[in-house]
């Protein structure tokens, strides 16, 4: 019995480490229409999708829609771009930029609890 409980505990720890730290998820490729790479991102306890893949040199337009009232996600911050947007509940807010070089552009809520990134290829 004691052994079983210990094993379950250790297994849970391993699960947490894998689930939160080790797993690498794939991004959503953004499609291009009319010269702009556009995608909708839903904000509810996280960014959905939270990893989007775009091509460099073309304008990117991210439409954020916040579907919760919790204050945490009220602002989305693109620290690397020096851009941020206030997300009133239920409204679609567009954020535009044109990535010049390949790399990752992370974004997050103001407190850094919710995170996402734009992968530029």
């Amino acid at each position: 019995m004691t052994l079983l409980v210990n094993l379950i505990g250790l297994a849970l720890i391993a699960l947490i480490v894998w689930y939160f730290f080790l797993y690498r998820k794939e991004g959503v490729q953004v499609t291009e229409a009319g010269g702009v790479q556009e995608i909708n991102i839903t904000v509810k306890g996280g960014y959905d999708p939270d990893t989007v893949v775009v091509k460099r040199g073309k304008p990117v337009r991210l439409h954020f829609t916040r579907l919760e009232s919790a204050l945490c996600s009220e602002v989305v911050v693109f620290d690397k771009l020096g851009q941020s947007a206030r997300l009133p509940e239920g409204q679609s807010v567009a954020l535009e930029f044109t990535p010049a070089e390949a790399g990752e552009i992370p974004f997050q809520c103001q407190m850094g609890m919710l995170r996402g990134k734009v992968v530029v290829t």
């Binding site: 849970l12 689930y19 730290f21 509810k44 204050l71 602002v75 911050v77 409204q91 103001q110 850094g112």
Partner: protein, 841 residues
């Protein structure tokens, strides 16, 4: 050709469009544009009017849309001047009307793009200003049977945001009261060692096992709605986060409260599963912790609203209506509909609606709400007026130059909002911690459980569960993550209230770390305009006579030094006379006949040429030049009358501001292209020791760079100058402070814009930055210490030594208090007062 086009616009299938272009360059350019456009299908005729920067198009409706034409022009390299507005559609219920409204909007001449969002009931319209206007757009909406009131302002109105916060607060408080109401009876069931309040005694004393069991079971049932109503957002948030492979405070609270509930229920129903004496339910923890954390969140919402009050105040400054001259009369219209070029009438005591240039009348305007400058500013024709400032006693008319989102106020609001959304470098470090915080706490909780389970005293399982739950509940990632952003919001708002606009969190952090401040001389320390400073009469003359003679002789001259003398005389109440003859002697001075006397004003060469004895004035001239002033001889009828001196004078509060900077321990350096002597003289007057003089404009940035190289780690160099000539140096510095000029708010090169021209803004900016950073550090330190101490105590490290164990309920209280403390601490910044000098606002 224009006339032809105008007629054809009424022929139904043919459309006419006039696109304003933001620039038309060269003789080759317009041809490329018109040929490019002519090739488009549906385009019948193109005419580019280079002088008016317009392109006139005749096209077939249906074959090509105005939006496509505008885009095509832009593709050819000619940006089209366009405006955008958003308007709420009243009474729209079905999604199918969207198409009809959009169609009607697109049919309005000048509308390039129109879309209606059925969810928000807002129409977004891009249009050509001048061709279409809000009235036409409103008419189009009304033609479909719907109503639209006003264009919506971007950014969202403050009341809208306040209302959302209000709603959130109310919901949370309702949830709290429910949880609190359930908590009380469950607590009464939980503590037999508080005999006079112990609920089972109501039934029997001593209590029967069965009564206790049933009361516990009842607690379990009533706690369920607490978890799922009051604590619903924790579970929803935890689940949403989990799907994104992240975890936050919601995860911890959801896990903690549900673990307590599940354990209690299993213990109640299957007590045999557990070793003797460990089957202890504790539903009270679930109810009370939920109540406390929800209360904490509610208080946070309230306090957060206060922290961002500054920006609401700013938005609230905007005037609602404007009185403009249209159709030959005064017309009161909503401020959103004022267009650039309108003539706006302002009466005494009224708010100035938009930015513009005064054209008629004069008054003094209270600009304190925008610039932080407490004294009203005199305005006469040609002066800029700023929207949202308040006219005092005079009446005037002005031409609107900037409206809508271009006004100084709108730019200030945008800049402050952007800054509030940015990050201080210190917050980046915190981000790394907060991204792993919650999973680590979960692991710690499991380890705590295992430690108690394996090595703890009997009943090991009960201890293990309680400590594991306590660890989950006490951990407060919110306090850590919120510390810096909350302080930043409060600090940036405070700065903006005082006319200091800080571009982002980095600028604020660096401003707090400044070691050296470089000040440009001309226009920064000094007014940048020469003024009459001295008049030394020769024997036989008195000062008023000397000044009047010099000013009268100089009156027709346009030379800035001559103008300074004329203004100086007027300021002393000496009205200069009109000379009957006047001639300028290039490189020497002027020669004039004033009231029958032949007057000369100029340098020594002029006096020598005319053979005038100036020996007696030599001492005075040398002294004045030693002070960095420009001295000029004055002679009347062949006899020396004296010396007048002109110099660029200090701004009234430069000395005070520089003292304040030095008192803060900053090294103040003066940088100027002026000669050593003038520079030293000014530096002496304001108490600056380090002077970099005779620096070419293009070398200013290099000098700043050299100073930066001398700095130690964490020491920064600031540069103060105007946003135009000093731009490279402002960019080079760690923090560039631009001295603001009226309505030009977003000075690109600068990290900090000082809306009032005063150097005091620099001292204020540094002080408020220091206060903000230390506030952020306090909160951050507090939050770290709290977690670093709280988690081990919750895990029971004190138990082996002192027999001390933290109750999960106390952990919940501590957690709620810690996050409220962070917000409350940031709110203290609202009462920040600069110590270096007091403002009279």
């Amino acid at each position: 050709m224009d006339a032809n086009l105008a007629r054809s616009s009424h022929e139904g299938t043919e459309g006419l469009l006039v696109l304003p272009l933001t620039h038309v360059e060269g003789s080759e350019g317009p041809r490329a544009l018109s040929e490019g456009l002519r090739r488009l299908p549906g385009v019948l005729e193109v005419h580019v009017n280079g002088a008016r920067k317009e392109v006139h198009l005749r096209y077939t409706r249906g074959a090509v849309t105005p939006s496509e034409l505008a885009k095509a022009a832009e593709r050819l390299g000619y940006p089209v001047g366009r405006a955008a507005l958003r308007a709420r559609i009243e009474g729209m219920h079905c999604a199918s009307c969207v198409g009809r409204i959009e169609e009607a909007l697109r049919a309005v001449p000048g509308v390039l793009e129109a879309s209606v969002n059925p969810a928000t009931k807002v129409a977004s319209v891009a249009y050509v200003p001048g061709t279409a206007d809000f009235a036409a757009i409103r008419a189009a909406v009304e033609s479909t049977g719907y109503q639209t009131a006003h264009p919506l302002e971007q950014p969202p109105a403050p009341d809208q945001e306040t209302a959302a916060h209000q709603r959130e607060y109310k919901t949370l408080m309702a949830k709290f009261w429910f949880a609190a109401a359930v908590s009380l009876p469950t607590l009464l069931v939980a503590y037999p060692n508080v005999p006079f309040l112990y609920a089972p005694y109501l039934f029997a004393n001593p209590v029967a096992e069965g009564v206790v069991w049933w009361l516990w079971a009842l607690s379990g049932v009533v706690t369920l709605p607490v978890m799922f109503y009051s604590g619903g957002q924790f579970f929803a948030g935890a689940w949403a986060a989990l799907r994104h492979r992240s975890a936050d405070m919601n995860t911890l609270i959801a896990l903690g409260t549900s673990a307590a509930w599940v354990y209690s229920t299993v213990a109640l129903i299957f007590p045999r599963l557990f070793p003797q004496g460990t089957a202890e339910p504790f539903y009270d923890v679930t109810a009370v912790v939920t109540a406390l954390v929800v209360l904490g969140q509610a208080l946070e919402v309230r306090a957060k609203g206060q922290a961002s009050q500054a920006i609401k105040k700013l938005i609230g400054l905007q005037a609602k209506t404007a009185r403009v001259l249209r159709q030959g009369g005064e017309l009161e219209i909503p401020v959103e509909e004022v267009e650039a070029g309108d003539t706006v009438v302002v009466r005494p005591g009224e708010k100035i609606p938009v930015d513009g240039v005064l054209i008629e009348g004069r008054s003094a305007v209270d600009e304190s709400m925008v610039t932080g400058e407490s004294l009203p500013v005199d305005k006469s024709p040609g002066d800029e007026v700023i929207g949202a400032t308040v006219n005092t006693t005079g009446a005037f008319k002005f031409r609107a130059t900037k409206v809508g989102k271009d006004t100084a106020l709108a730019q200030i609001v945008k800049m402050v909002q952007d800054a509030m959304g940015s990050k201080a470098p210190i917050a980046r470090m915190v981000d790394v911690v907060s991204s792993v915080f919650v999973p680590v706490v979960m692991i710690l909780s499991i380890l705590t459980f295992l430690a108690w389970f394996n090595f703890g005293p009997s009943p090991a399982l009960a201890f293990a569960v309680v400590t594991a739950v306590t660890v989950l509940i006490i951990a407060c990632p919110c306090a850590v993550g919120m510390a810096v952003p909350m302080s930043l919001v409060a600090g940036l708002g405070k700065a903006a209230e005082n006319g200091v606009l800080i571009r982002n969190g980095q600028a604020l952090q660096y401003a707090a770390q400044l070691k050296t401040v470089v000040l440009d001389k001309t226009g920064t320390i000094t007014k940048g305009k020469p003024e009459l400073t001295d008049a030394v009469p020769a024997p036989g003359f008195d000062e008023p006579t000397l000044v009047r003679l010099a000013a009268s002789a100089d009156r027709p001259s346009e030379h800035p030094l001559a103008q300074a003398i004329v203004k100086g005389a007027q300021a002393r109440g000496l009205e200069p006379a009109e000379p009957s003859a006047f001639s300028a002697v290039p490189g020497h001075g002027v020669e004039a006949t004033v009231a029958g006397r032949r007057v000369l004003v100029g340098n020594r060469k002029l006096m020598e040429r005319e053979g005038i004895e100036t020996y007696g004035l030599q001492g005075a001239v040398e002294r004045l030049q030693g002070e960095g002033k420009t001295a000029m001889y004055v002679a009347a009828d062949g006899q020396a009358a004296g010396v007048v001196a002109v110099a660029d004078t200090l701004k009234e509060d430069s000395l005070e501001a520089i003292r304040a900077l030095q008192k803060m321990g900053l090294e103040v350096v003066m940088l100027t292209g002026d000669n050593q002597r003038t520079a030293r003289s000014i530096a002496r007057q304001v108490g600056i020791e380090t002077v970099l003089a005779e620096v070419l404009p293009e070398d200013k940035a290099n000098q700043v760079h050299a100073l930066k190289a001398q700095m130690g780690k964490g020491q920064k160099v600031g540069m103060v100058g105007d946003g135009i000539n000093d731009a490279p140096a402002l960019v080079e510095a760690d923090v560039g402070f631009a001295i603001g000029t009226g309505t030009d708010v977003a000075i690109e090169a600068a990290a900090v814009t000082l809306m009032s021209g005063s150097l005091r803004g620099v001292a204020f900016a540094i002080e408020v930055s220091k206060a903000t950073m230390s506030n952020a550090r306090q909160s951050l330190f507090g939050a770290f210490v709290y977690n670093v101490l709280g988690i081990p105590v919750a895990a029971g490290v004190l138990f082996p030594f002192f027999g001390l164990l933290l109750s999960p309920i106390l952990a919940g209280a501590a957690m709620a208090i810690s996050s409220v403390t962070v917000v409350a601490n940031a709110n203290r910044l609202r009462f920040f007062k600069a110590r270096s000098f007091t403002r009279a606002s």
